[in-house]
Amino acid sequence: MNELRFTRRAWLTGSALLSFGLACPNALAQAIEPPPDPSRPKVLVCLFLRGAVDGLSVVVPHAEPAYYRARPSIAISQPGKGEHAAHDLDGRFGLHPRLSALMPAWNAGELALVHAIGSPHPTRSHFEAQDYMESGTPGVVARDGWVGRSLALLPVSTTDTFRAVAFADNVPRGMRGVPGVLAVRNLEALSLRAPGPLRSRLEQGFSRLYGVKDDALHRAGREALIAIARARDIPKPKPDPDYPKAARPLAEVAELIKAGVGLRAAWIDVGGWDTHQGQGNAANGRLPGLLDGLGRSLAAFRRDLGDRFADVVVLTMSEFGRTVRQNGTGGTDHGHGTAMLVLGGSVKGKRVYGRWPGLEPADLHEGRDLAVTTDFRDLFAELARKHLGVESLDTIFPGYDSKSATSLGVLG
């Protein structure tokens, strides 16, 4: 059975063979997994929380006395203690109270949390750590990233204009490595900027200019123009009171998924997490507002997608965690291990994954930070393989021994 695990590519080849009239042995037929529904491709949605989110506030280790000792004014209260207390998850950990909107997903088993996850590389530089995480290669910055390289290995149709969309000015490193990634601030920006009546004339002019040859430059120009035209057919997100204003990119991802335009991966940057001062606890400060927006956005996204949520996995990444001890300005500084959220219809949720290293002084990384017990590649590799369907992890995570790595089981 194992050697007959079929990828979609193999299945497609198989079906091509079939259509040429070759008989299909019964055993083979049985081994073939049902083909993925081409109108419902699996989608990976990456939210990069730039600036390093405080994982210890997201997933609160409320059973740890050391947590409360280290954070006299910014710790999140134990479940049941006051109106701003953490939501208990499993007796050890609690969810930040301003992430309440995610509790229905947790209870439905569609939200998994991975704690003490991070990079094997010790850098505390935002830029370095983000680049390593996006590259999927700790200690080495690659020109491209693990999501892009994963997509490059999939039998993705190159006519799917919206197969990979990044809501950013430029294609983020994590998504580079596959041709045709769209980088846009929002879908509305996917247009030629000219006064209304003249726009279509300009579009026609460029279409003609880029239509005369079939080299890579002309093709890229044509793809841009096709994207513009197709973007017009994708419904604009209706004003939805559920989505916070800043969640427009997520609402647009939902529209892309519902429109069935072949989206396989989306990337959204969310900034503001570098809470060196005035981080706050649950009632006040900078972090509660950010988490509130994040939680409500993700909850709205889940509701919006309805049964399509079964095909989606949302991953929140952040370059590193923050110091266990609060600093002199009511904030936290650059740390090491952090927490990540994995949300989706096929996620084995309602569980906090990863080995918890503890917060007593001897447990800490360099005496100050949550240690990393789960290499971020363990999680990313699992998503690439089980969700996107990538077989060859060696090219996606060079230097990473995926075979001897422990499977987290976030996707079963």
Binding site: S125, A194, L209
Partner: protein, 522 residues
């Protein structure tokens, strides 16, 4: 046939690679031309002039290709290799709004600092606090604008093209730590003065510059001893061998990397209280033992001299010659560099002890540079697109920082590439549907004279009074010269047919031409 003539003309002036060391021969008296050429410029001459301006300049300014074709590309090129060092008042004026950001670090802090943080009554204020008050977005924006302004307006175009080349070859990331204090000084004083000189000089200038010492961590690298917690940092040593000199296949081992790092221990930067934050050699951080790099013995106790000797040896290594020759042929000839070009450039490098001007002239003389199949085929990187488009329509930066956002939107903000390889040179790294859309929108905004951060005067080039047909043909000549294809002309004509308003028509013609596939290439 015409190619042969140009090549012959070129080799008249420059005898092979036998240029004398250190100086490029002065432009020879022009070879007598047939009378017919005095009057008219042939298609081939103009094509050649455009090719030279596309590759060895940031594109032609209006009429420049025709002038060059008439006066001779070779003499232009030779002048460029030994540019006049005198002041360029127009350029200096254009740079004035940005100049402050090019100062060395302490002057920079003073200029961009928050006066409250620089309180004269509290001169002992910690350096960290002083830095907090510095408006770094303005500093980095001004540096980028100074560079772009030079690329667009400088008469010394080959030098500017090479500054862009070296900026990527010796990449630093201006947002890493204190690099932000040194980045402007780095380009102005470690790269530009040496851009056409000996490779060894620019190599040493970058190695000793605080921007590089901080960016690749050598400033923090100290000899490994039992007593210190800190130790060797191989970051710079590795990139020095892999990217700056020998190349990844240049024949070095991990052991060589470690030994290079040992040689360079102690090469560091002054702390603010030690001086002006210049280069400093820290005797106590230096590994005093003997080293061996690529078979070269470095006896113990030679301190800073070990590093200087290492750079000289690396600069004259055949792998370095080959690596640089290949990169320059990719830049100036083709993404797949022709062997003939690489061989010639590499031999010239070795024969001239790494004289960059002579290497460039060997590429200029190589047969492959002139081959028609190598013309107008290289995709412009975003910086090249912006600079060449501004030059093509005689637009100038307006003294603001707005154009830096345009460059960022196109994917090439100056000095902000994080990885040590710098921005890529080849087409496949830049092509993408969203970047093509950004290019089309850039062209449209510039054509409508609405590109933020620029002063455009299209009226001077394409007056609104021009009849429609004349507008099209003049614009085609202006932006594409004789390389315009019938398809492009037809597409532009069709797009503007029926447009009544003269200004709209001009915007369309210019937008389509600057956004056309032809203009994306050089």
């Amino acid at each position: 046939m015409t190619n042969t003539r140009i090549f012959a003309l070129v080799s008249l002036g420059i005898a092979g690679c036998a240029l004398r060391q250190g100086a490029v021969a002065p432009p020879p008296t022009p070879a007598p031309k047939p009378a017919i050429q005095q009057a008219t410029v042939s298609r081939e001459d103009e094509s050649a002039a455009r090719h030279v301006l596309d590759r060895f300049a940031f594109g032609p300014t209006p009429g420049q290709a025709e002038r060059l074709a008439h006066d001779g590309v070779k003499s232009w090129f030779l002048h460029q290799l030994e540019p006049a060092k005198g002041p360029d008042p127009a350029l200096e004026a254009a740079l004035t709004p940005y100049r402050g950001a090019l100062e060395p670090p302490l002057a920079l802090i003073e200029r961009f600092g928050d006066p409250d943080q620089m309180d004269a009554e509290a001169p002992e204020r910690p350096f960290r606090d002083q830095l907090k008050g510095v408006d770094f977005p303005a500093v980095l924006g001004s540096i980028a604008m100074a560079e772009l302004t030079r690329h667009v307006e400088s008469e010394r175009q080959v030098e500017e093209v090479m500054v862009d080349f070296w900026t990527n070859h010796f990449n630093v990331f201006a947002r890493k730590g204190l690099v932000r204090l040194f980045a402007g000084d780095y380009v102005e004083r470690a790269l530009r003065p040496y851009a056409l000189g000996k490779f060894q000089d620019i190599l040493i200038a970058t190695a000793r510059h605080p921007a590089m010492l901080v960016y690749l961590d050598n400033a923090r690298s100290v000899a490994t001893t039992k007593s210190t917690k800190r130790g060797l940092n191989e970051n710079y040593a590795r990139e020095l061998l892999e990217l700056h000199t020998l190349g990844v296949d240049g024949g070095y081992t991990q052991k060589d990397v470690t030994e290079v790092a040992r040689v360079l221990t102690g090469w560091s930067v002054q702390r603010p209280k030690e001086g002006d934050m210049n280069f400093v050699f820290r005797e106590r951080a230096h590994d005093r033992g003997a080293k061996r790099v690529l078979g070269w013995e470095f006896p113990a106790n030679h301190g800073e001299d070990e590093g200087m000797r290492l750079f000289r040896l690396l600069a004259e290594h055949p792998s370095t010659a080959r690596h640089l020759a290949r990169k320059l042929c990719i830049r100036f000839v083709d993404d797949e560099p022709p062997a003939e070009c690489v061989d010639t450039a590499s031999k010239t490098y070795l024969a001239s002890q790494g004289d960059i001007a002579q290497v460039l002239s060997s590429i200029f003389q190589s047969a492959s540079f002139w081959e028609p199949r190598h013309r107008n085929i290289k995709l412009k990187a975003p910086l090249e697109l912006v600079a060449s488009a501004l030059r093509a329509v005689s637009a100038k930066p307006d003294g603001s920082l707005a154009l830096t956002r345009i460059l960022a939107g196109l994917g090439e903000p100056i000095l902000l590439e994080q990885i040590p390889t710098g921005y890529p040179e080849t087409e496949s790294e830049w092509l993408g549907s969203s970047s093509m859309l950004a290019r089309m929108n850039f062209a449209t905004a510039l054509a409508a004279e609405k590109l933020p951060g620029t002063k455009v005067g299209l009226d001077g080039l394409l007056p609104l009074t021009l009849p429609a047909a004349e507008l099209e043909s003049k614009a085609l000549t202006l932006f594409l010269g004789n390389r315009r294809s019938p398809e492009t002309a037809a597409a532009v004509h069709e797009a503007v047919t029926g447009l009544e308003d003269g200004r709209t028509r001009r915007t369309f013609v210019v937008a389509l031409l600057l956004g056309s596939p032809d203009f994306q290439r050089q």
